[in-house]
Symmetry: C2
Subunit: 195 residues, 2 copies
């Protein structure tokens, strides 16, 4: 998606340790106009799929998922980090290893909100090693729901998550795939150029 | 806001311990059509204020804030629970005591995304004892930003947060104020009736 790639080139910051900071428009401050364009693009990419629900994970996937949901006319369910006393016992849960936070945490979705009747589109802001996505796919599988597709804003193509997910036979669409980036000069190269 | 109150009566569940579960449409599964109506209402209520940014807090405030932001044509910034290694050192931070999770945690906003030029609308899904909101107000104050108003979906009017915030002289608009609720029979009474 050209608009997103241009924005990454303009406002993304490459840091040592394979960190791409896009916090000025994607996952701390959020540009809602951009999110709308991303939502339209997800709808275009998954127009042929019978999606009745969007599944995401707290926190930074929620904004993109909610704005995108308007183009699908479906509700959003977000997987919660397991700590709330307000969640009933009846949940699907999975463990996720966080690359960013260097720890493992449990996320849960109430059984009330995902079932074998559901055809879900999974949306998240970032795909790197794929742990968060695999957790969401695991929750969908536990519920017997069908994963119709996965929509990602920014994929780090040089990490393994994208290959792992595609090798599972799932349809994964990333709006920008970073092929390489250089913290020395700040350059970012995309897999399919600027298309 | 009548639509939200009707939805609380229809799908909200009153639990012992002053818990009002609205997780089927507000803060686990999210009804984006309802969020759009709430966003329009926030715009109507704060139309006279020169708002250039919406400030919220992860996780369940993000969806409402992002959908509402479309009616204000402004970006959203969400306060993050302090754990990310990707946040620069240059942040405003505050401590928040969570009623739900029975613990204290630190939240942060990068200094890049809130400044004395900002006129913020604070949005969140719930107001009970006010700790999360007071934390956000504290962050705005640290940045020298102006809090133009606070928009809440559901306020528990029988807890102290609403009074504390209003006594600070801030304009607080809650779309539904629960005056009382009864876990025995599941009834919910709103402060201003169904208006």
């Amino acid at each position: 998606m050209r608009l997103l790639k241009e924005r990454i080139l303009k406002d993304g910051v490459v840091k040592p340790g394979n960190v791409l900071k896009v916090d000025s428009f994607l996952n701390h401050q959020m540009d809602i106009e951009l999110f709308n364009e991303m939502g339209k693009e997800f709808k275009r990419l998954f127009a042929d799929r019978p999606i009745n629900k969007i599944l995401t994970i707290e926190a930074s996937g929620i904004g993109i998922a909610c704005v995108a949901a308007q183009y699908f006319n479906v509700p959003v369910v977000f997987a919660k980090k397991a700590q709330s006393i307000n969640i009933d016992g009846d949940v699907y849960s999975t463990k996720i290893e966080s690359f960013t936070h260097k720890k493992t945490y449990e996320v849960i979705v109430s059984k009330k909100f995902i079932s074998q009747q559901d055809h879900v589109l999974i949306i998240d802001d970032f795909l790197a090693n794929g742990c968060a996505l695999i957790g969401l796919i695991d929750i969908a599988a536990s519920a017997g729901a069908t994963v119709e597709g996965i929509g990602i804003a920014v994929e780090k193509g040089f990490q393994s998550g994208g290959d792992i997910i595609r090798n599972m036979g799932l349809r994964l669409e990333s709006l920008a795939i970073v092929e390489s980036m250089n913290p020395e000069d700040g350059t970012v190269v995309f897999r399919d150029g600027m298309n």
